[in-house]
């Protein structure tokens, strides 16, 4: 499987841009937990981190027409900027001069703003997302990619892979189910 084909695929992006809810849900399933991990690593409060990530998806949905092939970079950038805004406001919320939370917001703001080091996280994120899709069973994966990423209709997939439309549908629902289940298992094992 070509690594580059995944998230950056032209048809998948086009689906997102056109407001295809299923395609957007795939994006949500793949990215939510991971973006939350990034946000919660720099923002000290879990509820605030969740609010930030929910807001990232609302922004991405609202501005879906601007999404280009660098979807990973796009989502990471919105998350990063929202966290920076949050930390900046925390940084200036003066209470006492050596308030530990404030100082922590200060160093974390600097850390996240550092282009060089935040790129480490962005790259790892892209790789993790690809692995998530790679871990699907081979047949499911093929159908999933053809449908969601390449944007083929079920009929076209059935012609191309020489399987019935019913089988395509089964594979699709299995792929989506497996992917979600897998994401959960993946996270709860470790």
């Amino acid at each position: 499987m070509d690594k580059g084909i995944l998230i950056t695929n032209h048809y998948f992006i086009k689906n997102i841009q056109e407001g295809n809810q299923e395609a957007f849900k795939v994006l949500f399933d793949l990215y939510y937990t991971k973006l939350l991990h990034v946000a919660y690593s720099y923002v000290p409060n879990k509820e605030d981190a969740e609010e930030i990530v929910q807001d990232v998806f609302l922004k991405a949905w609202k501005k879906r027409k601007n999404i280009t092939t660098n979807i990973n970079g796009y989502l990471f950038k919105i998350t990063k900027n929202s966290c920076l805004d949050y930390l900046r406001s925390k940084k200036y919320k003066l209470s006492s001069a050596n308030n530990i939370e404030q100082l922590e917001a200060f160093i974390n703001h600097k850390a996240l703003k550092d282009e060089q080091t935040s790129l480490i996280i962005e790259k790892e994120l892209a790789q993790r997302i690809q692995e998530c899709i790679k871990l699907l069973p081979a047949k499911c994966q093929k159908v999933f990619i053809k449908s969601r990423i390449d944007g083929l209709k079920n009929k076209e997939i059935s012609d191309e892979l020489d399987i019935s439309i019913k089988t395509v549908e089964n594979h699709m629902s299995k792929a989506l189910k497996y992917m979600r289940l897998h994401l959960r298992e993946f996270l709860s094992i470790l």
Binding site: F28, H37, S41
Partner: protein, 326 residues
């Protein structure tokens, strides 16, 4: 400091004493900060799979309901815009005849816009639908919807008020004044924007605010304990460091003047005591007065202090106060 201590801190395994020591070490030097940035990023990248179990379906449902709410409100927004001019006019006529002066806040609801106003000497505390608290100074008026739209929280202010705003990153809070818009995420600040004053003053106490003005392209970002003064005539903005406690002293009924032109002093006294002033000399209008008046002082006491602490004399003339040079 060793890397292993830093990693211990990044993992959240340090007690508060160690934590403070490590944070101070990071802040001490650029290279220390750089090392922290790197170790932190490496750690975050290597722990993508360590996060707690999350019910994605539930999170997706939350997202969907937020998304729908947003679309619905965009629609009602249009209807509200059409209704506002009419309601505003009705409220204006209602409040012009409202004789209540210093009552506990009386909220009058007309469909969706709520107006609160104060007469001279009055002061009111208002809690908005989002939990933000606004203290309105004398002769001021605040308008706000009884339910905020989904994208912003907008209010309109004439006069002076202190704002303590609940944080909501998804919904910026915007105060509209005649010439200026003030945008915030969550913070506390004071705006003084009386129609008969020459200037609009915005003072930030905590947090961060942005000032937007038609003639000034870039928004101006204000830091805590700084005041932005917009000059209506010249259309420029001056930013200076101030003691924010003095600026919001009116909340305790105090009037604090620090090198304030007498012209401004009498405007503030007029709002507090309802007394009219006459000043005939131009030089006196520009005279800079410094002094503090307390809540329990009567107008007579204030005038006596003014007389003692400056070269100003006063006398009554047809129920008005006339100020002259001594």
């Amino acid at each position: 400091m060793q890397e292993k201590d830093l990693i211990k801190y990044i993992k959240g395994e340090t007690n508060s004493q160690e934590k403070r020591r490590i944070i101070e070490w990071i802040r001490k030097d650029y290279n220390n900060q750089k090392l922290y940035n790197n170790l932190k990023a490496e750690y975050v990248a290597s722990t993508f799979d360590n996060s707690d179990h999350i019910d994605i379906e539930k999170k997706y449902q939350i997202f969907c309901s937020k998304k729908i709410k947003k679309q619905k409100y965009q629609y009602t927004g249009i209807v509200a815009v059409l209704l506002i001019p009419l309601i505003a006019w009705q409220l204006y006529t209602y409040f012009s005849y409202n004789p209540i002066v210093n009552d506990p806040v009386k909220i009058s609801e007309y469909s969706s816009i709520i107006n609160i106003s104060t007469k001279s000497g009055g002061k009111k505390k208002v809690t908005l639908p989002d939990g933000s608290v606004i203290t309105l100074n004398a002769e001021s008026k605040l308008s706000y919807p009884n339910r905020f739209s989904d994208s912003t929280r907008s209010v309109t202010l004439i006069g002076e008020a202190f704002f303590d705003i609940k944080r909501d990153i998804a919904k910026p809070f915007i105060v509209h004044t005649d010439d200026l818009k003030v945008k915030v995420l969550g913070t506390s600040f004071n705006i003084k924007s009386y129609p008969d004053d020459e200037k609009i003053e915005t003072t930030l106490v905590t947090g961060k605010v942005e000032l937007l003005q038609e003639k000034i392209e870039e928004p101006i970002v204000l830091e805590p304990s700084h005041r932005a003064t917009f000059n209506k005539e010249k259309s420029n903005i001056k930013i200076e460091k101030v003691n924010s406690r003095n600026i919001i002293a009116w909340k305790q009924g105090k009037l604090i003047f620090n090198q304030t032109p007498l012209k401004q002093v009498v405007l503030d006294l007029n709002r507090k005591y309802g007394a009219d002033f006459i000043i005939k000399s131009d030089t006196l209008l520009q005279y800079k007065y410094t002094g503090v008046f307390n809540n329990n002082q009567s107008l007579e006491e204030v005038l006596e202090i003014l007389k003692l602490s400056s070269r100003i004399n006063y006398k009554y003339l047809n129920n008005k106060v006339m100020l002259e040079s001594q």
